[in-house]
Amino acid sequence: MSDASINTQASTNEASFGDYFALLKPRVMSLVVFTAAVGLLAAPGSLHPFEAFCAILFIAVGGGASGALNMWFDSDIDQKMKRTQGRPIPAGKVQREEALAIGVALSGFSVVMLGLATNFVAAGLLAFTIFFYAVIYTMWLKRWTPQNIVIGGAAGAFPPMIGWAAVTGGVAIESVLMFTLTFMWTPPHFWALCLFMKSDYKDAGVPMLHVTHGRRVTRNHILVYTILLAIIAIGMAFTGVGGPIYLTTALVLNALFLAGAVSIWRRDEDVSEADGYKREKAFFALSLLYLFLHFGAILAEALLAPYGLGGW
C-alpha cells in the first residue's frame, strides 16, 4: 500500500471532532444533565453557581465516558443492529481502541474533577455509576439475562442522586426516590421500544425480554412496571421534593401512562402490526415526556419554594 492510498483512505473515512463527541452519546447525556441538575437544585443547601455548573458538566462527562466504554465493548452488537449501525465505531470512523482510551481517560478525569469541585461522596457515586454501566450492565447483564434493562437501568437513575450529593455531601430519602423514579421508568420505556424495533436485538443475539420470553410476556411486564411506577411517582408527591405542582403533574401523566400500558397489554401482535405499532410508538414518545415533566415538576417546586409557592 502506498502513502497515497493510505492518505485517500484516511480522508474518506476520517473521524471528525463530532464523531469523537458522538462516542459520549449526547442524547443520553442530555437526560443525565437534566436529571442531575434537578437533583442539585432540589437539594437543601446551595452551591456557588460556577461550582454547580462544573458539577453538572463533570457528571455529564462521566456519563459520556461510560457511553464511550459501552460503544467500545458493544461494537460487535452495534454493527448488527440497524438502530446503532451509524455509531462511530461500526461506521468505521473511530477505532475501538480510541473509544476505550477516551472512555477510560474521561472516567478518571470526571470523577477526580467532580471530587475536587464538590465532594468525594458525589465523586464516589459517579465512579460507581460509570462502573455499573460499563461493567455490570454492558459487560455482564446485557448479554446474559433478559432482566438486563431492569437492573442496568440503575446506571441511568444515579445522576439526580449525584447532583443531590454534590450539594449535601450525602444521600437522602428524596434523592433515593428520584433514583427510584428513573429506575422504575426505564423498563416500560425500553420494552416499548423493543416491541416496535422488531428483530434488531434478536439479530444481535441480545437476550432482551421479548426475544427470550416473547412479546406477550413483554406486554404484561410493561403493564406491571407501569403500575409500580405510578405508585412511586404519585407517592413522591408527599415527600420533601413534592408539592401541588408535582402532584397534579404526576396524577395526569400517570393516568395517561397507565392508559397507554393497558392499551399495549390488550393488544396482540396482529393488531399492532396492522397499524404499524402506533400505540407502542405513542407510549414510547409519552415515556420521554413523562420523565421530563416529572423532573420538571420537582424543579418547579424547588425553584418556587423560596417564594412560598413550592412544596406543601
Binding site: 480522508s11 471528525s16 471532532f17 469523537y20 463527541f21 456557588h48 460556577f50
Partner: protein, 53 residues
C-alpha cells in the same frame, strides 16, 4: 517543510484540532474559575489561620 504552506493533513484535521484546542482552553478556564471561587470563599485558609495569637 515550510510553515507557510500547511500540509494537506493540517487542513483536513483543522476541525478536529480546533475542537481539541477549544476543549483544552475551556478546561483552563474551568480550573481557574473553580480555584477563584474556592479561594475567595475561604475554603483553603492556611492551617494556622484560626489559631489565636
Amino acid at each position: 517543510m515550510s510553515f507557510k504552506e500547511p500540509h494537506e493533513l493540517h487542513k483536513r484535521r483543522f476541525g478536529r484540532n480546533l475542537g481539541v484546542a477549544l476543549v483544552l482552553t475551556s478546561f483552563i478556564f474551568i480550573v481557574f474559575g473553580l480555584t477563584y471561587v474556592k479561594i475567595t470563599r475561604g475554603d483553603y485558609e492556611p492551617a494556622n489561620a484560626s489559631v489565636e495569637r
